[in-house]
Amino acid sequence: MSKKKKGKNQQQQIPNKDNFSRLNYLYQASNSLSNNYPILSRGLNRNLKLISKRTTLKIHSNVKRTICKNCHSLLIPGISVSNYIENKSKSKAQHNDILVRTCLNCKAIKRFPTKIREGKNDTEDE
C-alpha cells in the first residue's frame, strides 16, 4: 500500500506535465512530417525549442542533437547530416579528433570532441 502511495506522490511532483506532453507531441509530429513536409517539420522543431525555453524545461541532449541549431531541421545520419572526423593538431593524436557534423539543409557545422573520458563510455547492454 505504502509503495503505491509513494508512486502517486512522485507522479504528482512533476511540474508542467502538460508542457512536457506538448513538447512530446511536437517532437513526434516533426519526426513524422520530416519526410514529406520538411518546412512544416522545421517549424514544429522551432516551436519545440521556443516552448522549452519559455517554460524552462530541460530537453535531453540526445534529442537536442537531432535538431539543427541553425535551421531547426531534423538531423538523421545518412539522410540529412554528414559526419567526418577532423584533426588539426600537429601530433595527430587520437584524443584530438573532433567529430564535425554538417547539416545538409543549411550547411551549418557543429563540432563534438571525441575523447573518451574514463567511466563515461559505459553503455548499457540490451
Binding site: Q10, Q28, N31, P77, G78, K120
Partner: protein
Amino acid sequence: MNKSNKIQKNTTKSSKFSKNSISSINLAEQKRKQVFRPLLDNPYSQRHWPYIANQTQNDILELLRSYIKHEEYITGFNKVVKQLEYQAQHKKFSPNSIRYVIVCKKDINNVLADIFPCLCFNAKVKLIQLPRNSAAKLGTSIIGLTKQEGVLFEILDRLDDVEIPWLSNLINNTTSYNELKILK
C-alpha cells in the same frame, strides 16, 4: 524497445555545505537543496544495435584478424562513413560498395558510435559490434567489408539486420502518436 516518451529525473546536489558550520538550519537547508529536475528524453531510443552473442563476437574477431592480413578492406571512420553516406543517398550497390560494417563499439566514444545504427539502416548494410578491447587487436576500430566468399561471410550473413522501427515508419509514412509515459 520502449517507444514512448520518458521523463527522467536528474539530481543535482549542492556542495555549498561546509563541515565547520554544522547547525540544524544548515542541515535543513542542505536537505532542501537536493533538486529534482525533469528531462524530456527521446521517445525514439537511439540505440538500435543488433544483438550478437558474445561467443559469435569472439569468433568473428578471430576470423577477422586472419582475414585482414591477406585481403583488402576499407578502414577508418572518414572513409567508411563517406562511403556509407554515398550508398544511403543513392540506394545502389556496386561490387565495390560496403556490405558489412564492423565497429568496436566499446572502444570509441559514444558520440561516434551512435551514428552507425541510423546510417547503416539507411544504407541497408549489416552492422556488427565487437567486444571491448578488440580495437587494439585489430589495429583499427571501424572496418568496412565488401561481399566476398568464406567462412567469415557465412557467419556475417546469418546475423540480424539493423532494425529501426521509427525510421522505417517515417519512410513508409505510417507513424503514430505515443502516449506520454512517466518513469519513477
